[in-house]
Symmetry: C2
Subunit: 319 residues, 2 copies
Amino acid sequence: MNEVELLARLIPTLATNDSVVAGAGDDCAVLDLGLPNEFILFKTDAIVEGVHFTQEADAEKIGHKALARCLSDVAAMAGTPTHALITLALPQEFDVSFVEGIYRGLNALAARHEVAVVGGETTANLNCVLISVAVLGTVAKGKCLLRSGAQAGDAVFVTGTLGGSLQEKHLEFEPRLIEARWLAEHCGVHAMMDLSDGLATDLRHLLKASQVGAELLASAIPISRAARLAWKLNGQQLSRSAGRTPKPPLLAALTDGEDFELLFTVESREAVPLLDAWKKRFPELGLNCIGKITSTPGLFIKDKDGLRPLTEQGYVHFS
Amino acid sequence: MNEVELLARLIPTLATNDSVVAGAGDDCAVLDLGLPNEFILFKTDAIVEGVHFTQEADAEKIGHKALARCLSDVAAMAGTPTHALITLALPQEFDVSFVEGIYRGLNALAARHEVAVVGGETTANLNCVLISVAVLGTVAKGKCLLRSGAQAGDAVFVTGTLGGSLQEKHLEFEPRLIEARWLAEHCGVHAMMDLSDGLATDLRHLLKASQVGAELLASAIPISRAARLAWKLNGQQLSRSAGRTPKPPLLAALTDGEDFELLFTVESREAVPLLDAWKKRFPELGLNCIGKITSTPGLFIKDKDGLRPLTEQGYVHFS
Protein backbone atom coordinates (compact mmCIF):
# COMPACT_ATOMS: atom_id res chain seq x y z
CA MET A 1 0.00 0.00 0.00
CA ASN A 2 1.46 3.39 -0.95
CA GLU A 3 0.94 6.71 0.81
CA VAL A 4 -2.03 7.76 -1.32
CA GLU A 5 -3.86 4.48 -0.69
CA LEU A 6 -3.11 4.61 3.03
CA LEU A 7 -4.42 8.17 3.31
CA ALA A 8 -7.52 7.24 1.32
CA ARG A 9 -8.24 4.62 3.97
CA LEU A 10 -7.45 6.80 6.97
CA ILE A 11 -8.99 10.14 6.05
CA PRO A 12 -12.66 9.04 6.07
CA THR A 13 -12.20 7.65 9.59
CA LEU A 14 -10.94 10.89 11.15
CA ALA A 15 -12.93 12.47 13.96
CA THR A 16 -14.41 15.82 12.96
CA ASN A 17 -16.60 18.68 14.20
CA ASP A 18 -18.61 21.62 12.85
CA SER A 19 -15.74 24.09 12.78
CA VAL A 20 -13.79 22.31 10.04
CA VAL A 21 -13.99 24.21 6.73
CA ALA A 22 -11.31 22.03 5.05
CA GLY A 23 -9.61 19.11 6.77
CA ALA A 24 -6.99 16.59 5.65
CA GLY A 25 -6.06 16.83 1.97
CA ASP A 26 -5.29 20.50 1.38
CA ASP A 27 -2.07 22.38 2.15
CA CYS A 28 -3.45 23.51 5.51
CA ALA A 29 -6.53 22.67 7.52
CA VAL A 30 -9.00 25.59 7.39
CA LEU A 31 -10.94 26.18 10.61
CA ASP A 32 -13.75 28.49 11.64
CA LEU A 33 -13.11 29.33 15.29
CA GLY A 34 -15.58 32.21 15.36
CA LEU A 35 -13.48 35.11 14.12
CA PRO A 36 -15.81 37.43 12.21
CA ASN A 37 -13.70 37.87 9.07
CA GLU A 38 -11.03 35.20 9.15
CA PHE A 39 -10.46 31.48 9.12
CA ILE A 40 -7.64 29.88 11.09
CA LEU A 41 -5.04 27.86 9.14
CA PHE A 42 -3.35 24.90 10.89
CA LYS A 43 -0.49 22.81 9.53
CA THR A 44 2.34 20.50 10.61
CA ASP A 45 5.30 19.36 8.59
CA ALA A 46 8.39 17.33 9.50
CA ILE A 47 11.86 17.09 7.99
CA VAL A 48 14.16 14.13 8.59
CA GLU A 49 17.93 13.83 8.25
CA GLY A 50 18.85 11.69 5.25
CA VAL A 51 15.60 12.54 3.47
CA HIS A 52 15.12 16.30 3.58
CA PHE A 53 18.69 17.31 4.43
CA THR A 54 22.07 15.63 4.77
CA GLN A 55 24.25 15.42 7.86
CA GLU A 56 26.61 17.97 6.30
CA ALA A 57 23.94 20.67 5.87
CA ASP A 58 24.33 23.91 7.78
CA ALA A 59 22.22 23.97 10.97
CA GLU A 60 20.81 27.44 10.27
CA LYS A 61 19.64 26.33 6.84
CA ILE A 62 18.05 23.20 8.28
CA GLY A 63 16.12 25.35 10.77
CA HIS A 64 15.16 27.74 8.00
CA LYS A 65 13.88 24.91 5.84
CA ALA A 66 11.90 23.27 8.66
CA LEU A 67 9.84 26.43 9.19
CA ALA A 68 9.86 27.58 5.55
CA ARG A 69 8.07 24.41 4.43
CA CYS A 70 5.18 25.10 6.79
CA LEU A 71 5.06 28.77 5.81
CA SER A 72 4.93 27.68 2.16
CA ASP A 73 1.78 25.71 3.01
CA VAL A 74 0.24 28.81 4.57
CA ALA A 75 1.21 30.74 1.43
CA ALA A 76 -0.57 28.08 -0.64
CA MET A 77 -3.85 29.15 1.01
CA ALA A 78 -3.02 32.88 0.56
CA GLY A 79 -2.78 33.10 4.34
CA THR A 80 -0.65 34.90 6.90
CA PRO A 81 1.30 32.74 9.36
CA THR A 82 1.15 33.92 12.95
CA HIS A 83 2.59 31.29 15.34
CA ALA A 84 4.84 28.24 15.28
CA LEU A 85 5.78 25.40 17.63
CA ILE A 86 8.97 23.37 17.13
CA THR A 87 9.55 19.69 17.99
CA LEU A 88 13.21 18.74 17.77
CA ALA A 89 14.02 15.02 18.06
CA LEU A 90 17.75 14.41 18.29
CA PRO A 91 20.22 11.56 18.72
CA GLN A 92 21.27 11.02 22.36
CA GLU A 93 24.61 12.70 21.77
CA PHE A 94 23.94 16.05 20.19
CA ASP A 95 25.81 19.27 19.90
CA VAL A 96 24.21 22.28 21.61
CA SER A 97 25.62 24.59 18.94
CA PHE A 98 23.74 22.53 16.31
CA VAL A 99 20.46 23.13 18.17
CA GLU A 100 21.25 26.81 18.56
CA GLY A 101 22.03 27.01 14.83
CA ILE A 102 18.68 25.44 13.96
CA TYR A 103 16.88 27.98 16.13
CA ARG A 104 18.88 30.87 14.66
CA GLY A 105 17.79 29.84 11.18
CA LEU A 106 14.14 29.44 11.98
CA ASN A 107 13.97 32.51 14.21
CA ALA A 108 15.37 34.72 11.47
CA LEU A 109 12.71 33.52 9.03
CA ALA A 110 9.98 33.78 11.67
CA ALA A 111 10.96 37.34 12.56
CA ARG A 112 10.95 38.35 8.89
CA HIS A 113 7.32 37.25 8.60
CA GLU A 114 6.27 38.35 12.12
CA VAL A 115 5.65 34.75 13.17
CA ALA A 116 5.94 34.12 16.93
CA VAL A 117 7.76 30.92 17.93
CA VAL A 118 5.77 30.05 21.04
CA GLY A 119 7.47 26.89 22.24
CA GLY A 120 7.84 23.25 21.42
CA GLU A 121 10.00 20.53 22.79
CA THR A 122 13.37 18.88 22.43
CA THR A 123 13.53 15.13 22.79
CA ALA A 124 16.77 13.17 22.48
CA ASN A 125 16.19 9.61 21.40
CA LEU A 126 16.55 8.88 17.73
CA ASN A 127 19.43 7.89 15.52
CA CYS A 128 18.84 10.89 13.28
CA VAL A 129 17.54 14.44 13.50
CA LEU A 130 13.82 15.04 12.97
CA ILE A 131 12.22 18.47 13.15
CA SER A 132 8.45 18.77 13.19
CA VAL A 133 6.94 22.25 12.94
CA ALA A 134 3.33 23.23 13.61
CA VAL A 135 2.05 26.58 12.38
CA LEU A 136 -1.05 28.64 12.84
CA GLY A 137 -2.13 31.36 10.51
CA THR A 138 -5.12 33.38 9.41
CA VAL A 139 -6.77 34.07 6.08
CA ALA A 140 -9.60 36.41 5.11
CA LYS A 141 -12.75 34.34 4.67
CA GLY A 142 -13.30 35.37 1.06
CA LYS A 143 -9.65 34.98 0.05
CA CYS A 144 -8.75 31.46 1.14
CA LEU A 145 -7.53 29.43 -1.85
CA LEU A 146 -8.11 25.68 -1.85
CA ARG A 147 -6.86 23.00 -4.23
CA SER A 148 -10.39 22.20 -5.23
CA GLY A 149 -11.41 25.34 -7.13
CA ALA A 150 -9.86 24.74 -10.58
CA GLN A 151 -12.30 24.98 -13.50
CA ALA A 152 -12.14 23.72 -17.07
CA GLY A 153 -10.60 26.41 -19.27
CA ASP A 154 -8.45 27.90 -16.49
CA ALA A 155 -4.87 28.83 -17.25
CA VAL A 156 -2.28 27.02 -15.09
CA PHE A 157 0.58 29.08 -13.66
CA VAL A 158 3.75 28.48 -11.68
CA THR A 159 6.04 30.99 -10.00
CA GLY A 160 9.83 30.79 -10.32
CA THR A 161 11.68 27.93 -11.97
CA LEU A 162 11.41 24.20 -11.31
CA GLY A 163 13.75 21.27 -10.75
CA GLY A 164 17.17 20.77 -9.26
CA SER A 165 16.13 22.24 -5.92
CA LEU A 166 18.15 19.71 -3.95
CA GLN A 167 21.38 21.26 -5.24
CA GLU A 168 20.83 24.30 -3.05
CA LYS A 169 17.46 26.02 -3.18
CA HIS A 170 15.65 23.56 -0.87
CA LEU A 171 17.65 24.86 2.11
CA GLU A 172 17.31 28.54 1.22
CA PHE A 173 13.95 29.19 -0.40
CA GLU A 174 11.75 32.04 0.79
CA PRO A 175 8.12 30.96 1.13
CA ARG A 176 5.94 32.81 -1.39
CA LEU A 177 3.73 34.45 1.25
CA ILE A 178 3.72 37.96 -0.16
CA GLU A 179 3.18 36.77 -3.71
CA ALA A 180 0.32 34.47 -2.70
CA ARG A 181 -1.58 37.17 -0.81
CA TRP A 182 -1.07 39.56 -3.72
CA LEU A 183 -2.51 36.95 -6.09
CA ALA A 184 -5.56 36.40 -3.89
CA GLU A 185 -6.05 40.15 -3.66
CA HIS A 186 -5.44 41.14 -7.28
CA CYS A 187 -6.69 38.40 -9.51
CA GLY A 188 -9.34 35.73 -9.57
CA VAL A 189 -7.29 32.68 -8.59
CA HIS A 190 -9.49 29.58 -8.60
CA ALA A 191 -7.15 27.03 -6.98
CA MET A 192 -3.67 27.12 -5.48
CA MET A 193 -1.11 24.86 -3.81
CA ASP A 194 2.63 24.85 -3.23
CA LEU A 195 5.01 22.50 -5.04
CA SER A 196 6.77 20.13 -2.68
CA ASP A 197 6.70 16.68 -4.33
CA GLY A 198 7.27 17.80 -7.92
CA LEU A 199 4.92 19.38 -10.47
CA ALA A 200 3.81 16.03 -11.95
CA THR A 201 2.65 14.71 -8.58
CA ASP A 202 1.37 17.91 -7.04
CA LEU A 203 -0.66 18.99 -10.07
CA ARG A 204 -2.36 15.57 -9.98
CA HIS A 205 -3.46 16.32 -6.40
CA LEU A 206 -4.94 19.64 -7.49
CA LEU A 207 -6.70 18.03 -10.47
CA LYS A 208 -8.13 15.29 -8.30
CA ALA A 209 -9.38 17.78 -5.70
CA SER A 210 -10.98 19.86 -8.46
CA GLN A 211 -12.23 16.86 -10.49
CA VAL A 212 -10.71 18.15 -13.70
CA GLY A 213 -7.78 17.34 -16.01
CA ALA A 214 -4.93 19.40 -17.50
CA GLU A 215 -2.74 19.80 -20.56
CA LEU A 216 0.77 21.10 -20.00
CA LEU A 217 2.92 22.72 -22.69
CA ALA A 218 6.43 21.25 -22.38
CA SER A 219 8.15 24.31 -23.84
CA ALA A 220 6.44 26.61 -21.32
CA ILE A 221 7.64 24.85 -18.19
CA PRO A 222 10.28 27.04 -16.52
CA ILE A 223 13.36 24.89 -15.91
CA SER A 224 15.78 26.00 -13.21
CA ARG A 225 19.40 26.82 -13.92
CA ALA A 226 20.38 24.14 -11.38
CA ALA A 227 18.49 21.44 -13.29
CA ARG A 228 20.05 22.49 -16.63
CA LEU A 229 23.53 22.71 -15.15
CA ALA A 230 23.28 19.31 -13.45
CA TRP A 231 22.41 17.71 -16.75
CA LYS A 232 25.09 19.64 -18.66
CA LEU A 233 27.77 18.40 -16.27
CA ASN A 234 26.25 14.98 -16.81
CA GLY A 235 25.50 15.06 -13.13
CA GLN A 236 28.94 13.66 -12.33
CA GLN A 237 29.69 15.95 -9.43
CA LEU A 238 26.48 17.66 -8.48
CA SER A 239 24.33 14.59 -8.55
CA ARG A 240 26.70 12.70 -6.33
CA SER A 241 26.55 15.39 -3.68
CA ALA A 242 22.77 15.43 -3.79
CA GLY A 243 22.62 11.64 -3.93
CA ARG A 244 20.43 11.57 -7.06
CA THR A 245 20.73 10.27 -10.61
CA PRO A 246 20.92 13.11 -13.14
CA LYS A 247 17.73 13.74 -15.12
CA PRO A 248 17.07 15.55 -18.39
CA PRO A 249 16.15 19.13 -17.41
CA LEU A 250 12.45 18.90 -18.37
CA LEU A 251 12.08 15.68 -16.43
CA ALA A 252 13.76 17.30 -13.42
CA ALA A 253 11.35 20.25 -13.63
CA LEU A 254 8.39 17.88 -13.79
CA THR A 255 9.44 15.44 -11.09
CA ASP A 256 12.00 16.90 -8.67
CA GLY A 257 10.60 17.70 -5.24
CA GLU A 258 11.23 20.64 -2.91
CA ASP A 259 10.55 23.47 -5.36
CA PHE A 260 8.24 25.39 -3.00
CA GLU A 261 6.87 27.52 -5.79
CA LEU A 262 3.18 28.34 -6.16
CA LEU A 263 1.01 26.39 -8.59
CA PHE A 264 -2.35 28.01 -9.34
CA THR A 265 -5.12 28.40 -11.87
CA VAL A 266 -6.99 31.50 -13.05
CA GLU A 267 -9.75 32.09 -15.55
CA SER A 268 -8.12 32.18 -19.01
CA ARG A 269 -9.10 35.80 -19.78
CA GLU A 270 -7.22 36.88 -16.65
CA ALA A 271 -3.95 35.31 -17.81
CA VAL A 272 -2.52 38.20 -19.82
CA PRO A 273 -3.49 41.02 -17.43
CA LEU A 274 -2.04 38.91 -14.60
CA LEU A 275 1.31 38.43 -16.34
CA ASP A 276 1.44 42.15 -16.97
CA ALA A 277 0.59 43.17 -13.40
CA TRP A 278 2.92 40.52 -11.96
CA LYS A 279 5.92 41.80 -13.91
CA LYS A 280 5.39 45.25 -12.43
CA ARG A 281 4.89 44.02 -8.87
CA PHE A 282 7.47 41.19 -8.78
CA PRO A 283 10.05 42.02 -11.46
CA GLU A 284 12.59 39.61 -9.92
CA LEU A 285 10.41 36.52 -9.85
CA GLY A 286 9.27 34.71 -12.99
CA LEU A 287 5.64 33.74 -13.55
CA ASN A 288 4.74 31.33 -16.32
CA CYS A 289 1.56 30.00 -17.81
CA ILE A 290 2.34 26.32 -18.34
CA GLY A 291 -0.94 24.90 -19.60
CA LYS A 292 -4.67 24.75 -19.19
CA ILE A 293 -7.31 22.93 -17.18
CA THR A 294 -9.57 20.55 -19.12
CA SER A 295 -12.91 19.02 -18.26
CA THR A 296 -11.54 15.61 -19.41
CA PRO A 297 -9.78 13.96 -16.49
CA GLY A 298 -6.11 13.04 -16.78
CA LEU A 299 -2.83 14.89 -17.10
CA PHE A 300 -1.32 15.37 -20.57
CA ILE A 301 1.75 17.14 -21.92
CA LYS A 302 2.24 18.61 -25.37
CA ASP A 303 5.76 18.52 -26.82
CA LYS A 304 7.25 18.44 -30.32
CA ASP A 305 5.83 14.94 -30.83
CA GLY A 306 2.28 15.95 -29.92
CA LEU A 307 0.06 15.36 -26.94
CA ARG A 308 0.82 12.39 -24.66
CA PRO A 309 -0.31 11.31 -21.22
CA LEU A 310 2.16 12.48 -18.57
CA THR A 311 3.25 9.30 -16.84
CA GLU A 312 6.15 10.73 -14.84
CA GLN A 313 5.80 10.92 -11.09
CA GLY A 314 7.39 13.16 -8.52
CA TYR A 315 8.55 12.22 -5.06
CA VAL A 316 6.79 9.27 -3.46
CA HIS A 317 6.99 9.27 0.36
CA PHE A 318 6.67 5.52 0.56
CA SER A 319 5.14 2.77 -1.54
CA MET B 1 24.07 21.16 29.29
CA ASN B 2 20.74 19.69 30.40
CA GLU B 3 17.31 20.39 28.97
CA VAL B 4 16.51 23.20 31.42
CA GLU B 5 19.75 25.01 30.67
CA LEU B 6 19.29 24.59 26.93
CA LEU B 7 15.76 25.97 27.07
CA ALA B 8 16.93 28.88 29.22
CA ARG B 9 19.32 29.77 26.43
CA LEU B 10 16.86 29.27 23.57
CA ILE B 11 13.65 30.79 24.91
CA PRO B 12 14.83 34.42 25.09
CA THR B 13 15.91 34.24 21.43
CA LEU B 14 12.53 33.15 20.06
CA ALA B 15 10.76 35.41 17.58
CA THR B 16 7.53 36.84 18.97
CA ASN B 17 4.64 39.18 18.18
CA ASP B 18 1.87 41.10 19.94
CA SER B 19 -0.66 38.29 19.99
CA VAL B 20 1.32 36.07 22.40
CA VAL B 21 -0.30 36.02 25.85
CA ALA B 22 1.95 33.17 27.11
CA GLY B 23 4.68 31.58 25.01
CA ALA B 24 7.22 28.83 25.69
CA GLY B 25 7.27 27.61 29.29
CA ASP B 26 3.63 26.83 30.12
CA ASP B 27 1.63 23.71 29.24
CA CYS B 28 0.26 25.41 26.12
CA ALA B 29 1.00 28.65 24.33
CA VAL B 30 -1.84 31.13 24.89
CA LEU B 31 -2.65 33.35 21.92
CA ASP B 32 -4.97 36.27 21.32
CA LEU B 33 -6.14 35.96 17.72
CA GLY B 34 -8.95 38.47 18.11
CA LEU B 35 -11.79 36.32 19.41
CA PRO B 36 -13.90 38.50 21.69
CA ASN B 37 -14.11 36.15 24.68
CA GLU B 38 -11.52 33.46 24.14
CA PHE B 39 -7.84 32.82 23.81
CA ILE B 40 -6.46 30.15 21.47
CA LEU B 41 -4.34 27.37 23.02
CA PHE B 42 -1.59 25.79 20.89
CA LYS B 43 0.55 22.80 21.82
CA THR B 44 2.70 20.03 20.30
CA ASP B 45 3.94 16.88 21.97
CA ALA B 46 5.81 13.86 20.63
CA ILE B 47 6.10 10.27 21.82
CA VAL B 48 8.93 7.98 20.78
CA GLU B 49 9.18 4.18 20.77
CA GLY B 50 11.53 3.00 23.50
CA VAL B 51 10.92 6.09 25.61
CA HIS B 52 7.17 6.62 25.86
CA PHE B 53 6.03 3.16 24.81
CA THR B 54 7.59 -0.22 24.04
CA GLN B 55 7.49 -2.11 20.77
CA GLU B 56 5.02 -4.56 22.35
CA ALA B 57 2.43 -1.90 23.21
CA ASP B 58 -0.96 -2.07 21.56
CA ALA B 59 -1.25 0.30 18.56
CA GLU B 60 -4.61 1.71 19.68
CA LYS B 61 -3.20 2.55 23.09
CA ILE B 62 -0.16 4.22 21.52
CA GLY B 63 -2.47 6.37 19.40
CA HIS B 64 -4.59 7.13 22.44
CA LYS B 65 -1.55 8.18 24.45
CA ALA B 66 -0.13 10.38 21.68
CA LEU B 67 -3.26 12.52 21.59
CA ALA B 68 -4.10 12.21 25.30
CA ARG B 69 -0.81 13.84 26.30
CA CYS B 70 -1.64 16.94 24.25
CA LEU B 71 -5.20 17.03 25.55
CA SER B 72 -3.81 16.83 29.08
CA ASP B 73 -1.85 20.00 28.34
CA VAL B 74 -5.03 21.73 27.19
CA ALA B 75 -6.70 20.51 30.40
CA ALA B 76 -3.85 22.07 32.37
CA MET B 77 -4.98 25.51 31.11
CA ALA B 78 -8.66 24.68 31.80
CA GLY B 79 -9.21 24.79 28.05
CA THR B 80 -11.27 22.91 25.48
CA PRO B 81 -9.37 21.15 22.69
CA THR B 82 -10.85 21.64 19.23
CA HIS B 83 -8.47 20.35 16.51
CA ALA B 84 -5.47 18.05 16.13
CA LEU B 85 -2.85 17.27 13.48
CA ILE B 86 -0.87 14.03 13.53
CA THR B 87 2.71 13.46 12.31
CA LEU B 88 3.60 9.79 12.16
CA ALA B 89 7.26 8.94 11.47
CA LEU B 90 7.78 5.24 10.87
CA PRO B 91 10.52 2.78 10.00
CA GLN B 92 10.75 2.03 6.26
CA GLU B 93 9.04 -1.32 6.70
CA PHE B 94 5.85 -0.73 8.61
CA ASP B 95 2.62 -2.57 9.01
CA VAL B 96 -0.48 -0.79 7.71
CA SER B 97 -2.59 -2.39 10.43
CA PHE B 98 -0.28 -0.76 13.02
CA VAL B 99 -0.97 2.67 11.50
CA GLU B 100 -4.68 1.97 11.36
CA GLY B 101 -4.58 0.87 15.02
CA ILE B 102 -2.88 4.12 16.03
CA TYR B 103 -5.54 6.13 14.23
CA ARG B 104 -8.35 4.06 15.77
CA GLY B 105 -7.01 4.83 19.24
CA LEU B 106 -6.61 8.53 18.71
CA ASN B 107 -9.85 8.94 16.76
CA ALA B 108 -11.84 7.35 19.57
CA LEU B 109 -10.37 9.76 22.11
CA ALA B 110 -10.80 12.71 19.73
CA ALA B 111 -14.44 11.88 19.08
CA ARG B 112 -15.14 11.58 22.82
CA HIS B 113 -13.93 15.15 23.32
CA GLU B 114 -15.30 16.52 20.02
CA VAL B 115 -11.79 17.17 18.70
CA ALA B 116 -11.49 17.19 14.90
CA VAL B 117 -8.43 15.41 13.48
CA VAL B 118 -7.77 17.67 10.48
CA GLY B 119 -4.76 16.02 8.88
CA GLY B 120 -1.08 15.51 9.37
CA GLU B 121 1.46 13.44 7.58
CA THR B 122 3.06 10.03 7.51
CA THR B 123 6.77 9.84 6.83
CA ALA B 124 8.69 6.57 6.71
CA ASN B 125 12.34 7.02 7.52
CA LEU B 126 13.36 6.30 11.08
CA ASN B 127 14.46 3.22 12.94
CA CYS B 128 11.67 3.67 15.48
CA VAL B 129 8.15 5.04 15.64
CA LEU B 130 7.68 8.71 16.53
CA ILE B 131 4.27 10.37 16.78
CA SER B 132 4.06 14.13 17.09
CA VAL B 133 0.66 15.67 17.76
CA ALA B 134 -0.28 19.34 17.48
CA VAL B 135 -3.49 20.56 19.10
CA LEU B 136 -5.52 23.72 19.07
CA GLY B 137 -8.02 24.66 21.73
CA THR B 138 -9.86 27.56 23.23
CA VAL B 139 -10.22 28.92 26.74
CA ALA B 140 -12.42 31.69 28.14
CA LYS B 141 -10.24 34.77 28.65
CA GLY B 142 -10.97 35.02 32.37
CA LYS B 143 -10.58 31.28 33.03
CA CYS B 144 -7.17 30.42 31.57
CA LEU B 145 -4.94 28.92 34.27
CA LEU B 146 -1.18 29.44 34.01
CA ARG B 147 1.65 27.94 36.04
CA SER B 148 2.62 31.37 37.27
CA GLY B 149 -0.33 32.26 39.52
CA ALA B 150 0.53 30.41 42.76
CA GLN B 151 0.59 32.59 45.88
CA ALA B 152 2.12 32.11 49.31
CA GLY B 153 -0.41 30.42 51.57
CA ASP B 154 -2.18 28.55 48.75
CA ALA B 155 -3.12 24.92 49.29
CA VAL B 156 -1.55 22.50 46.78
CA PHE B 157 -3.79 19.81 45.28
CA VAL B 158 -3.43 16.83 43.00
CA THR B 159 -6.11 14.73 41.35
CA GLY B 160 -5.98 10.92 41.32
CA THR B 161 -3.03 8.90 42.56
CA LEU B 162 0.63 9.16 41.62
CA GLY B 163 3.46 6.85 40.63
CA GLY B 164 3.77 3.54 38.80
CA SER B 165 2.03 4.89 35.70
CA LEU B 166 4.35 3.01 33.36
CA GLN B 167 2.85 -0.30 34.52
CA GLU B 168 -0.35 0.49 32.64
CA LYS B 169 -1.99 3.85 33.18
CA HIS B 170 0.30 5.81 30.84
CA LEU B 171 -1.30 4.11 27.83
CA GLU B 172 -4.86 4.42 29.04
CA PHE B 173 -5.32 7.65 31.00
CA GLU B 174 -8.18 9.97 30.24
CA PRO B 175 -7.06 13.60 30.12
CA ARG B 176 -8.64 15.60 32.96
CA LEU B 177 -10.44 18.05 30.67
CA ILE B 178 -13.83 17.99 32.36
CA GLU B 179 -12.34 18.20 35.81
CA ALA B 180 -10.07 21.10 34.88
CA ARG B 181 -12.87 23.19 33.38
CA TRP B 182 -15.02 22.48 36.43
CA LEU B 183 -12.19 23.67 38.69
CA ALA B 184 -11.76 26.89 36.71
CA GLU B 185 -15.51 27.46 36.84
CA HIS B 186 -16.21 26.55 40.46
CA CYS B 187 -13.26 27.55 42.57
CA GLY B 188 -10.53 30.13 42.61
CA VAL B 189 -7.62 28.14 41.21
CA HIS B 190 -4.47 30.29 41.15
CA ALA B 191 -2.12 28.07 39.15
CA MET B 192 -2.42 24.73 37.38
CA MET B 193 -0.38 22.27 35.29
CA ASP B 194 -0.50 18.60 34.40
CA LEU B 195 1.95 16.06 35.80
CA SER B 196 4.08 14.47 33.10
CA ASP B 197 7.65 14.36 34.45
CA GLY B 198 6.82 13.48 38.06
CA LEU B 199 5.51 15.64 40.92
CA ALA B 200 8.99 16.56 42.21
CA THR B 201 10.07 17.97 38.85
CA ASP B 202 6.77 19.43 37.70
CA LEU B 203 6.01 21.21 40.97
CA ARG B 204 9.43 22.86 40.74
CA HIS B 205 8.43 24.29 37.34
CA LEU B 206 5.22 25.70 38.84
CA LEU B 207 7.12 27.17 41.81
CA LYS B 208 9.70 28.74 39.54
CA ALA B 209 7.05 30.25 37.28
CA SER B 210 5.22 31.65 40.33
CA GLN B 211 8.42 32.68 42.19
CA VAL B 212 7.37 30.90 45.37
CA GLY B 213 8.30 27.77 47.35
CA ALA B 214 6.30 24.83 48.75
CA GLU B 215 6.10 22.38 51.64
CA LEU B 216 4.66 18.96 50.88
CA LEU B 217 3.24 16.60 53.50
CA ALA B 218 4.61 13.11 52.79
CA SER B 219 1.64 11.31 54.34
CA ALA B 220 -0.83 13.27 52.20
CA ILE B 221 0.64 12.33 48.84
CA PRO B 222 -1.73 9.87 47.12
CA ILE B 223 0.27 6.83 46.08
CA SER B 224 -1.10 4.65 43.29
CA ARG B 225 -1.92 1.02 43.75
CA ALA B 226 0.49 0.21 40.92
CA ALA B 227 3.39 1.90 42.76
CA ARG B 228 2.60 0.06 46.01
CA LEU B 229 2.18 -3.27 44.28
CA ALA B 230 5.41 -2.91 42.30
CA TRP B 231 7.29 -2.35 45.54
CA LYS B 232 5.50 -5.15 47.37
CA LEU B 233 6.46 -7.66 44.69
CA ASN B 234 9.94 -6.20 45.08
CA GLY B 235 9.57 -5.14 41.51
CA GLN B 236 10.85 -8.50 40.30
CA GLN B 237 8.32 -8.98 37.58
CA LEU B 238 6.59 -5.69 37.03
CA SER B 239 9.68 -3.59 37.02
CA ARG B 240 11.36 -5.80 34.47
CA SER B 241 8.46 -5.41 32.06
CA ALA B 242 8.50 -1.64 32.47
CA GLY B 243 12.28 -1.55 32.30
CA ARG B 244 12.67 0.37 35.57
CA THR B 245 14.24 -0.23 38.94
CA PRO B 246 11.62 -0.62 41.68
CA LYS B 247 11.23 2.38 43.98
CA PRO B 248 9.71 2.77 47.44
CA PRO B 249 6.08 3.84 46.84
CA LEU B 250 6.47 7.43 48.10
CA LEU B 251 9.53 7.93 45.93
CA ALA B 252 7.63 6.53 42.95
CA ALA B 253 4.76 8.95 43.60
CA LEU B 254 7.21 11.85 43.80
CA THR B 255 9.39 11.01 40.83
CA ASP B 256 7.66 8.69 38.34
CA GLY B 257 6.62 10.39 35.14
CA GLU B 258 3.50 10.01 32.99
CA ASP B 259 0.89 10.52 35.74
CA PHE B 260 -1.16 13.05 33.74
CA GLU B 261 -3.03 14.20 36.81
CA LEU B 262 -3.74 17.87 37.55
CA LEU B 263 -1.54 19.79 39.99
CA PHE B 264 -3.01 23.09 41.15
CA THR B 265 -3.12 25.63 43.94
CA VAL B 266 -6.09 27.44 45.52
CA GLU B 267 -6.39 29.98 48.30
CA SER B 268 -6.25 28.05 51.58
CA ARG B 269 -9.76 29.02 52.72
CA GLU B 270 -11.15 27.44 49.55
CA ALA B 271 -9.55 24.06 50.30
CA VAL B 272 -12.30 22.51 52.42
CA PRO B 273 -15.28 23.73 50.36
CA LEU B 274 -13.46 22.50 47.24
CA LEU B 275 -12.90 19.00 48.66
CA ASP B 276 -16.57 18.87 49.58
CA ALA B 277 -17.86 20.03 46.20
CA TRP B 278 -15.39 17.80 44.35
CA LYS B 279 -16.56 14.68 46.14
CA LYS B 280 -20.11 15.38 45.00
CA ARG B 281 -19.16 16.17 41.40
CA PHE B 282 -16.42 13.56 40.88
CA PRO B 283 -17.09 10.77 43.38
CA GLU B 284 -14.88 8.34 41.44
CA LEU B 285 -11.74 10.47 41.29
CA GLY B 286 -9.66 11.30 44.34
CA LEU B 287 -8.56 14.85 45.13
CA ASN B 288 -5.90 15.47 47.76
CA CYS B 289 -4.39 18.50 49.39
CA ILE B 290 -0.69 17.62 49.53
CA GLY B 291 0.90 20.74 50.95
CA LYS B 292 1.12 24.51 50.84
CA ILE B 293 2.81 27.28 48.93
CA THR B 294 5.39 29.33 50.84
CA SER B 295 6.92 32.70 50.16
CA THR B 296 10.37 31.21 50.89
CA PRO B 297 11.73 29.67 47.69
CA GLY B 298 12.60 25.97 47.60
CA LEU B 299 10.71 22.70 47.80
CA PHE B 300 10.48 20.90 51.16
CA ILE B 301 8.77 17.76 52.38
CA LYS B 302 7.57 16.98 55.90
CA ASP B 303 7.70 13.34 57.01
CA LYS B 304 8.04 11.57 60.37
CA ASP B 305 11.60 12.89 60.71
CA GLY B 306 10.59 16.50 60.20
CA LEU B 307 10.99 18.98 57.37
CA ARG B 308 13.75 18.37 54.78
CA PRO B 309 14.56 19.78 51.37
CA LEU B 310 13.12 17.57 48.63
CA THR B 311 16.13 16.60 46.55
CA GLU B 312 14.48 13.90 44.44
CA GLN B 313 13.99 14.56 40.76
CA GLY B 314 11.51 13.23 38.26
CA TYR B 315 12.13 12.38 34.64
CA VAL B 316 14.97 14.25 32.95
CA HIS B 317 14.65 14.36 29.16
CA PHE B 318 18.39 14.64 28.66
CA SER B 319 21.32 15.97 30.61
